[in-house]
């Protein structure tokens, strides 16, 4: 049984989250809480650990519907990319599905890519 799809989805203000088999998580809405890590850091870490346990070759994080986030939320994506980058054993590609129409996604995922290009992929959709 897939551990990835069994990760419990947190209830977070203003953001809708779906986990879909075999390897996709989709976030939409906005993330502007004071401390989004309280809702989401543990969730992302659980997805990361489940992806390793399931020996997934790729995780697809669809953020194209996230219309606005604060820098504390961007930090969560930096952390996730860093976990994958620092993984010494088998690791997966973290593919962010982004929207070319959403400004914050263009600037922030470009910066994130330069941080961990060996484990990240960015796919743009309209």
């Amino acid at each position: 049984m897939s551990q990835f799809t069994s990760v419990p989805v947190p209830k977070a203000d203003a953001v809708a989250i779906q986990v879909m088999a075999p390897n996709q998580v989709k976030l939409s809405g906005t993330i502007t809480q004071k401390d989004p890590s309280s809702d989401l850091a543990g969730f992302f870490k659980a997805l990361h650990n489940a992806a390793l346990a399931d020996k997934l070759g790729e995780v697809r994080a669809d953020v194209s519907g996230l219309t606005f986030v604060n820098s504390s939320a961007i930090r969560l994506f930096v952390d996730w990319a860093t976990w994958v980058k620092n993984e010494r054993g088998q690791r997966y590609t973290l593919r962010f599905i982004t929207s070319r129409n959403v400004t914050w996604q263009k600037t922030s995922f470009m910066a994130l890519m330069s941080l961990a290009k060996e484990v990240l992929a960015i796919e743009q959709v309209s």
Binding site: T32, F68, N70, S71, R75, V78, D79, W104, T107, S108
Partner: protein, 167 residues
């Protein structure tokens, strides 16, 4: 002798467009950011400027709210002004003394790099210091907001962060 420059070469003073004063409460930030988006989209007619305004307003207000001193005179002031060529966002707050020192240091450090380099450097720092606070916000304002930041220390311990960029 007239020492004033010809009218066409004068740089007009920024014209105040928006002024708000409110308690430093997190609950207000989303609403004020979305008002800023609407205002810039409606006034200047560009989605790009509206998006930049959102980043500037969100991150400057977050900093101001997080680090405001807990006193009766700690109300925040947000103003938006324009001279027709540039736009200026200004947030006045009364921060605690510890934050003021780190803000000075952070702003000085940012000015040594161009906005893109500074944003990348902030990502690298966040990646290398997973337990530390993110400190991405100011670098994000400069890069994504397309503005330069400055800080004025005013009487009574208040500070004014100004973000100025092209329209």
């Amino acid at each position: 002798m007239d020492t004033n420059p010809p009218q066409s070469k004068r740089h007009p003073a920024p014209y105040p467009l928006v002024f708000m004063r409110f308690r430093p409460a997190w609950a207000y930030i989303d609403g004020i950011r979305e008002f800023g988006r609407f205002f810039c989209q409606t006034t200047f007619g560009t989605q790009e400027l509206a998006d930049r305004a959102c980043v500037v307003i969100q991150e400057t207000l977050e900093n101001a709210v997080k680090y405001s001193s807990n006193t009766a005179d700690s109300e925040l002031e947000l103003s938006i002004s324009s001279d027709g060529l540039s736009i200026e966002f200004s947030v006045s707050s009364l921060p605690d003394a510890q934050h003021l020192a780190s803000l000075r240091q952070e702003l000085n450090g940012l000015q040594t790099l161009d906005p893109e380099q500074a944003y990348l450097a902030a990502f690298i720092r966040a990646s290398n210091e997973p337990e530390a606070s993110a400190r991405l916000g100011l670098a994000r304002i400069r890069y994504e907001g397309g503005v330069e930041l400055s800080m004025n220390e005013e009487s009574g311990g208040r500070i004014r962060i100004t973000a100025k960029g092209n329209l």
